[in-house]
């Protein structure tokens, strides 16, 4: 069976769903952060699939989507750096990474 675009979109959607389940179900802040990265990678996969699918006139992929993937990877790296700095600062104060213990802003 030949691969279609829907194959890649479905795999990307599944990766997103698994990351989403992780963000909702896990209670360790670092694992939540890693599941967030999974969701970003799912978006990257769908972007690259669409880039390959929409060919330009001379048979090359549409590179605008791949430029966006490049930006997403860069922004994710910057976000991970800042997020982990916040987590380390929080850990210094609270000595815990369990989300239920860091809920002082909760309504």
């Amino acid at each position: 069976m030949q691969l279609t675009l829907n194959h890649y979109l479905f795999v990307g959607g599944l990766i997103f769903a698994i990351g989403f389940a992780g963000v909702m179900l896990r209670r360790n802040i670092l694992i939540i952060f890693m599941c967030l990265e999974l969701m970003l990678n799912a978006a990257n996969l769908t972007l690259v699939a669409f880039s390959r699918f929409n060919l330009t006139a001379d048979g090359l992929p549409n590179y605008n989507a791949q430029v966006l993937v490049f930006f997403i990877i860069t922004v994710a790296a910057a976000e991970v750096a800042v997020g982990l700095a916040i987590i380390v600062a929080l850990f210094r104060v609270r000595q815990t990474t369990h989300v239920d213990d860091i809920s002082s802003l909760k309504f």
Partner: protein, 167 residues
């Protein structure tokens, strides 16, 4: 990409993504995420996005995940102790995810454009880096400069957030 390879690498990505979510030990979760990202890079190669696959391995799996592992080791996080967890929360979380997957299959089954095969790509070697670079620096030059400023700002932010109080 041959369908066998696609299914193989997709299975790799999905199995290790589930391992990220389900593992108690944070180091095992981080390493499972590394394997997942490498499988994803293989899928990118199958989609003829060679530069993005290389960047994925170098930056995402090679720098971001290493940073995660540094922080896990630094904070010396032990395996998560079993805490009393509300079963309703598990049911709700699993239910929302299942609902999302159902909705995804529903949308994709009606997506007629997605059921067509991939069009054949230009034959010969595709000079991926050249074309991506010219697109990046001509059409998307301004976002590129903004990203540079963003990285600078995030570096400064990390340094400021990590400073200890000077006694």
């Amino acid at each position: 990409m041959s369908p066998i390879l696609f299914y193989l690498f997709s299975a790799l990505v999905l199995v290790f993504a589930v391992a990220v979510v389900a593992n108690r030990n944070p180091v095992a979760s981080a390493l499972s995420l590394v394997v997942s990202l490498l499988g994803l890079a293989a899928l990118f190669v199958g989609l003829n996005a060679y530069f993005i696959a290389a960047i994925q391995v170098l930056v995402y799996a090679g720098a971001v995940m290493v940073l995660f592992l540094f922080i896990i080791m630094l904070l010396n996080i032990q395996s998560e102790a079993r805490r009393k967890m509300n079963p309703l929360a598990y049911i709700a979380g699993g239910g929302v995810t299942a609902l999302f997957v159902v909705q995804l299959s529903n949308v994709l089954s009606h997506f007629a454009l997605g059921k067509t095969e991939f069009p054949p790509i230009a034959s010969g070697t595709i000079d991926d880096v050249h074309h991506l670079g010219s697109t990046l620096f001509s059409t998307h030059n301004l976002p590129f400069q903004v990203i540079g400023v963003l990285i600078l700002v995030s570096t400064i932010g990390v340094v400021v957030l990590s400073k200890r109080e000077l006694k």
